[in-house]
Every structure is written in structure tokens, then in C-alpha cells.
């Protein structure tokens, strides 16, 4: 109980901070809900990137910096293929491409690096990032491409009777959240119900034990990278339909790092909840904390959302190093 005190204190402080604008009347409730929704939407995307990250870390212990580049690559593939064929065909084909990519990464990068330092593996994924950035632009081009899901982009006003001025929402955002939820649901089913899913969980628990009962490690890695690739594809399509697909997309995925720290490296629910917390937290901070901060210190503009997520993750690390849902790590001499 005593050990959890700082965690609880931090969570309480966050919650109070979250409710502050509403309680002090700094924001009308309608606008507050809009910011909340905006944050949740950003959070869904962070969650999806972090999800791929956590899957790979769990199964192969690799800190995969290339997840962002994979999101970009998958989204570019869908966007460019969709110019030539119907969207569903483009998505199917892109899934195929991501599986092939996973196979190549396992064969050419992971397998030769088995048993190396985690940092060497991390650097290798950085190398993969560079490669994918260059390769993606060579094959698919460097322009801004859009993915048309056929959903109206103009916002609609809802709940005008409850909130003054109503709330502005986008259908697209709700569709995105639905798709993300469906993805997470099917992943859960995959892990719980299929033999492959069970084997993956066994690998995640203990590599050696899994191998000794006859689970082929190498094949499992290909599968988990392919699954991460598909998750990346979903994230990429959602992002692409909202804001267009371009090279710079791969940089956004950096935000997945504080998310996995917050949620715990190995935890899938952690990645999702962490993503939502970070998404909401940084938008709230930017909108409500930013302007007073700028005024108080005479800053040249806000932009605190750039570091807010990382500092939040750092605070969490200090009180709870394993993250919200991570497993505790014990060292022995």
C-alpha cells in the first residue's frame, strides 16, 4: 500500500489538473468536451503506433524504432495503390506487402542479431528506419497523398441542447475510434483463441521455455512483425484519411515512446490506455496550460505539447519504473 502512494498521488494530481479548467470556469463545458475528444482522437493514433511497438517488444525484446517508418510505409502503399485499384484491394495488397516486409526484417536484421545487446538491436531498427524512409520515397514518391475513405470531413454540431454552443465533432474521428476498437478486439481474439496466438504469448513469457516445447521462435517473430505491420497499416490509413500521407508521418510515431513508457513496455492494454492518457494530457496542457504559461514567462509562443508527453512519462518512470501495467523487473547478482 505504502509503495503505491506516490503513484496514487501522481494520478490524483493529474486528475485534478485535468478537471481544473472545468472547475475554475476557465473553459465552457462544451469546449472542454471538444478538447477532450480531440485529445482522445490523437490518443487513438498514439495507441495504435504504441500497440505495434509493445507487440514486438513483448515477443522479441526489440525496441522497435522503425514502427513509425512502418506506419508511413504502409500508409503510402495504401494511398498509392488505391490510385490504381479499389480501396479494399489496395488494403489487402498492402497487408501482403507488410507481411513480406516482416519476413525480410526477420531474415536480414533480427536473426543475425540474436542475443546481441538491446541497444544494438535498437540501433539496428534505427537503420531499418532510414532504409524504409528512403525506400518508401523511392517506390511511392515524396508528395502528400490522401486516402479517401468516403467520409465527410465537414464537422457537425451535436448536443446543442446540453452545451451552450454545441460540440463540434467529426464523423471521421468516430469511425477511426471504431476501427481501432475493432482492431484491438480482433487482436485480443487472435491472442486468446488461436493456436498461433497462444504460441506467441508463450514466446513472450519465456523464449527458452517456448522453444523447448517446440515453438519455432523464428516463425513467431515473422508473425509478430507482420501483425505489427498490420497494426501500422491501420494507424497509417486512419492518419492518412485525416491529414494525408507524407514522409513526415514517421516522425509523429516518436510519441509512441512515452506512451509505452507510461503503459509499460510489454503491456497491450497499457499501450492503449497510455496512448489515451498522453493524447488527452498533451492537448489539455497545450490548450489550457499553454497560454497562462506564455503570459507568465513572456515566452515566444506555447507548444508545450512537444515535451509534455515525455515529461509525464519521466515522472511516471520515477514513481513506477515498470509503467502502469508493466511487469516488475528484479535483478539478481
Amino acid at each position: 500500500m505504502k509503495k503505491n502512494a506516490p503513484v496514487i498521488a501522481l494520478c490524483a494530481a493529474l486528475l485534478i489538473g485535468l478537471l481544473m479548467p472545468l472547475m475554475t470556469g476557465a473553459s465552457p463545458p462544451g469546449f472542454y468536451v471538444e478538447v477532450l475528444l480531440g485529445g482522445l482522437m490523437a490518443g487513438v493514433l498514439y495507441s495504435l503506433v504504441a500497440l505495434g511497438f509493445a507487440l514486438i517488444f513483448k515477443a522479441s525484446g526489440v525496441f522497435n524504432f522503425a514502427q513509425g517508418a512502418m506506419v508511413l510505409f504502409a500508409a503510402l502503399a495504401v494511398a498509392r495503390l488505391a490510385e490504381r485499384m479499389p480501396l479494399w484491394a489496395a488494403i489487402v495488397l498492402a497487408i501482403g506487402i507488410m507481411i513480406v516486409l516482416a519476413w525480410f526484417i526477420e531474415r536480414l536484421v533480427l536473426r543475425p542479431l540474436v542475443n546481441q545487446d538491446p541497444i544494438a538491436l535498437f540501433m539496428a531498427t534505427l537503420g531499418v528506419t532510414f532504409f524504409l524512409d528512403g525506400f518508401g520515397q523511392t517506390v511511392w514518391g515524396s508528395d502528400i497523398y490522401s486516402i479517401e475513405l468516403g467520409i465527410a470531413k465537414e464537422p457537425v454540431m451535436v448536443l446543442q441542447s446540453i452545451f451552450q454552443g454545441g460540440i463540434l465533432v467529426n464523423k471521421e474521428d468516430f469511425m477511426a475510434a471504431l476501427v481501432a476498437a475493432a482492431l484491438v478486439g480482433s487482436l485480443a481474439l487472435f491472442f486468446q483463441k488461436t493456436p498461433t496466438g497462444r504460441a506467441l504469448r508463450a514466446v513472450a513469457d519465456d523464449h527458452q521455455a517456448a522453444q523447448s516445447i517446440g515453438i519455432p521462435l523464428n516463425r513467431m517473430w515473422v508473425i509478430v512483425w507482420a501483425v505489427a505491420g498490420i497494426v501500422a497499416l491501420v494507424a497509417g490509413v486512419i492518419w492518412g484519411s485525416k491529414l494525408g500521407v507524407q514522409f513526415s508521418l514517421s516522425l509523429v510515431a516518436l510519441k509512441a515512446l512515452p506512451v509505452v513508457i507510461l503503459g509499460g513496455f510489454t503491456s497491450v492494454p497499457g499501450a492503449i490506455i497510455g496512448g489515451l492518457i498522453i493524447g488527452v494530457g498533451e492537448k489539455m496542457a497545450e490548450v489550457f496550460l499553454g497560454p497562462p504559461l506564455v503570459k507568465a514567462f513572456d515566452l515566444a509562443g506555447g507548444g508545450i505539447e512537444n515535451w509534455f508527453a515525455y515529461v509525464l512519462a519521466l515522472l511516471f518512470l520515477l514513481v513506477r519504473p515498470q509503467g502502469l501495467f508493466g511487469e516488475k523487473h528484479i535483478d539478481r547478482v
Binding site: 528506419t129 528512403g134 520515397q137 515525455y310
Partner: protein
């Protein structure tokens, strides 16, 4: 047969503790220094100085610093470019606000300020380690970037957020031409290498290495982890801060916070890992590799006469750079310095196999 230490006996403590105990190494080192000071300035073009050698020398100082932390003490940092930024902006403000200070004093003070900030952001290392710590240092990277972009005082209220420095002067010597810059940086680098070399073989270095190999065990044998980790952060940030000040004053001349972004942090990490963790020589190799490779890759198609577009050339640069990183990690995970060590081993017997 030429590179053997047979017959070189150490008969005093001084000779036992010298930095290059083998005669051939000393000769080689003297030769190298003579080459760097007496030959290079006369044969190299300005382009090579400005685009390759000067960045190489400065980034080697930074890589040395990062290697002390990552390679010797085992603490990963993804935010070292931010400490470079601290050094650069500290130097800028010192030079601007206290103009009577000599540049060398400014350099040292900038390093000290960076060290203080480094210790502050090193505190999480007492509780977390490995890649977790790496991500925690990202907080330093983004927060410090933001501070320099936003707090107007640091940039002397420049309306564009970009700062510029006056030409350098060290004891009345105006460091202006590429050759002068090169010689000045070479001197700085030599001093920092000697200091680093003595640090890592002294008691601090041993404490760092014990912490790196297993922190719990190190604590058991009486090394204070707080002391070891924080000194590593402090000294590492000092090096990097000085490198940052040099990067701003000598290489760029005018810069914006973007000059010290995450890409630079990752490049520094590449340098120490490709070069060799826990090897000072490796920092040299790594810095050379990372500075030269992209430029060579970018120009290679033109040299070879291959008719490909600029866009294609830079895409290829990315791809080959990434592939080479993976390749080197697979072929020699201990870095280029390890290759050098193997080469030296072979030299002892060469040309006879036994």
C-alpha cells in the same frame, strides 16, 4: 614482426603508467600528430576542412563524451544533442553578456553549465536503466529544445529566434580561416582525449565500468552508484557542452534550436555504437564514419557518372546508410574499434603466421 613489445621492460612506475606503453605506439602517435599538424593544413582543400574535418573534430569531442556515459558507465542517453544546445547557448550568452571573458574561459564555463544540466537530467538514472533511461532522456531533448526556442532571453530577444556569434578570438589569435579553425579544434580535441584517457583508467573510470557491467554487484563491492552515475552524466555533459559551444561558434556561426535536434542525438549514439562502445579510439572512428558516409553516399552517383536525379541520390543515401548501419551491427557488434584491435593483434605476428 614490426609491432611487438618484446624486450620493452617497464622498470619504473612512471613507465608502467604511461599512456602509450609500447614504443611503436608512441612512434605512430607522434607520426600521426606531426601529420595532422604539419602536413594536413597544407594539402587539404577548404571544402574538406569545412565540411568534413571541422565537423569531425567537434563531433569527436561529443562522441567521446557520450562514450564515457554509454560505453563506460552503461547509461543510455537519447538526449545528448540537448546538452550540446545547453553548451552552445550558455557560451553564446556568456560571450554576449560578459564580453571581457576569453573564449577558452567561456568554453569551460559553458561546459560546466551543461554538466549541471546533465546531472539534473541524469537523476532518473538512479532509478531506471537501459532503454527506459534512454526514453527518459528524450524528455531532456524535447524540453531543452523547447526552452531555447521559447525563452527569449536565451536568444537575446532575436526576432527570428536565430543567434549569431562574433568571430572567435583566442589570446589575440583570430580563428577565422578553415585552417586556423582546424588547428584550434585539433588542440582542443587532443586535450580532451588525454583527459578522457586518464579518466577511464583512473578510479572513476573503474567505478563506471563496474556499474556498467552490473550495478548491483558494483554496489556490493563498495562503489556508490549515485556517485558513479552522476559523475558520468556530469563529465559526459561537460564534454558534450563544450562540443556544442564549438559546434555553434566554430562550425555554424549562427544557429537555431533545430540545429541540436533529435537527429543529432541519434547520430551521436550511432557514432559511439558503430565506433565501439567503451573505446575512445572508437569514438574517432564512429565520428569519422557518420560524418563522412552521408556526404560520400550523396556524391557517389555523381562521381561515378551515374545519371540519376538528385531525389534518387538522396533516397539511395538514406537506404544505403540504413543498410550499412545494420550491416556493421551484424558483422561487428563491438564496433570499428574492435576491428582495429584485431588488426593490431595480427600485426604482432605479421608477416609470419606463428
Amino acid at each position: 614482426m614490426f609491432y611487438r613489445e618484446n624486450g620493452q621492460f617497464k622498470s619504473s612506475y612512471a613507465s608502467d603508467q604511461q599512456m602509450l606503453p609500447i614504443l611503436q605506439d608512441r612512434v605512430l602517435m607522434l607520426g600521426l600528430l606531426a601529420f595532422a599538424f604539419l602536413v594536413v593544413p597544407f594539402v587539404i582543400s577548404d571544402y574538406v576542412f569545412l565540411s568534413l574535418l571541422i565537423p569531425f573534430l567537434i563531433l569527436t569531442v561529443a562522441a567521446l563524451g557520450l562514450n564515457l556515459l554509454v560505453g563506460y558507465c552503461g547509461q543510455i542517453s537519447l538526449g545528448h544533442a540537448a546538452f550540446m544546445a545547453v553548451g552552445a547557448y550558455a557560451a553564446y550568452n556568456l560571450a554576449l553578456r560578459v564580453p571581457q571573458l576569453s573564449f577558452l574561459v567561456v568554453l569551460v564555463l559553458a561546459g560546466l553549465i551543461a554538466a549541471a544540466v546533465g546531472v539534473l537530467f541524469g537523476i532518473p538514472s538512479l532509478r531506471i536503466k537501459g532503454l527506459y533511461l534512454g526514453v527518459a532522456t528524450l524528455a531532456a531533448q524535447f524540453f531543452i529544445d523547447w526552452v531555447f526556442a521559447r525563452v527569449k532571453w536565451f536568444t537575446n530577444y532575436a526576432h527570428s529566434g536565430s543567434v549569431q556569434t562574433a568571430p572567435l578570438e583566442v589570446f589575440g589569435w583570430t580563428v577565422n580561416s578553415p585552417v586556423e579553425k582546424y588547428l584550434f579544434l585539433l588542440c582542443v580535441l587532443i586535450v580532451f582525449t588525454i583527459v578522457a584517457n586518464n579518466l577511464v583508467r583512473g578510479h572513476i573510470g573503474r567505478a563506471w565500468m563496474a556499474t556498467r557491467d552490473m550495478d548491483v554487484a558494483a554496489e556490493v563491492i563498495g562503489i556508490r552508484p549515485v556517485y558513479a552515475k552522476l559523475t558520468a552524466f556530469a563529465i559526459s555533459s561537460f564534454y558534450v557542452g563544450v562540443a556544442g559551444a564549438l559546434w555553434g561558434f566554430v562550425h555554424l556561426g549562427s544557429w537555431e534550436p533545430l540545429a541540436f535536434n533529435l537527429t543529432l542525438s541519434l547520430n551521436l549514439l550511432f557514432m559511439v555504437i558503430i565506433g565501439g562502445l567503451g573505446s575512445l579510439l572508437g569514438s574517432y572512428f564512429g565520428a569519422a564514419f557518420i560524418v563522412v558516409l552521408p556526404i560520400v553516399l550523396n556524391q557517389a552517383p555523381a562521381w561515378l557518372g551515374a545519371p540519376i536525379s538528385t531525389a534518387m541520390a538522396s533516397h539511395l543515401e538514406f537506404m544505403i546508410f540504413g543498410a550499412l548501419i545494420v550491416f556493421f551491427l551484424i558483422v561487428e557488434p563491438h564496433g570499428l574499434a574492435r576491428l582495429w584491435a584485431i588488426g593490431k593483434e595480427k600485426m604482432r605476428l605479421w608477416p609470419f603466421p606463428h
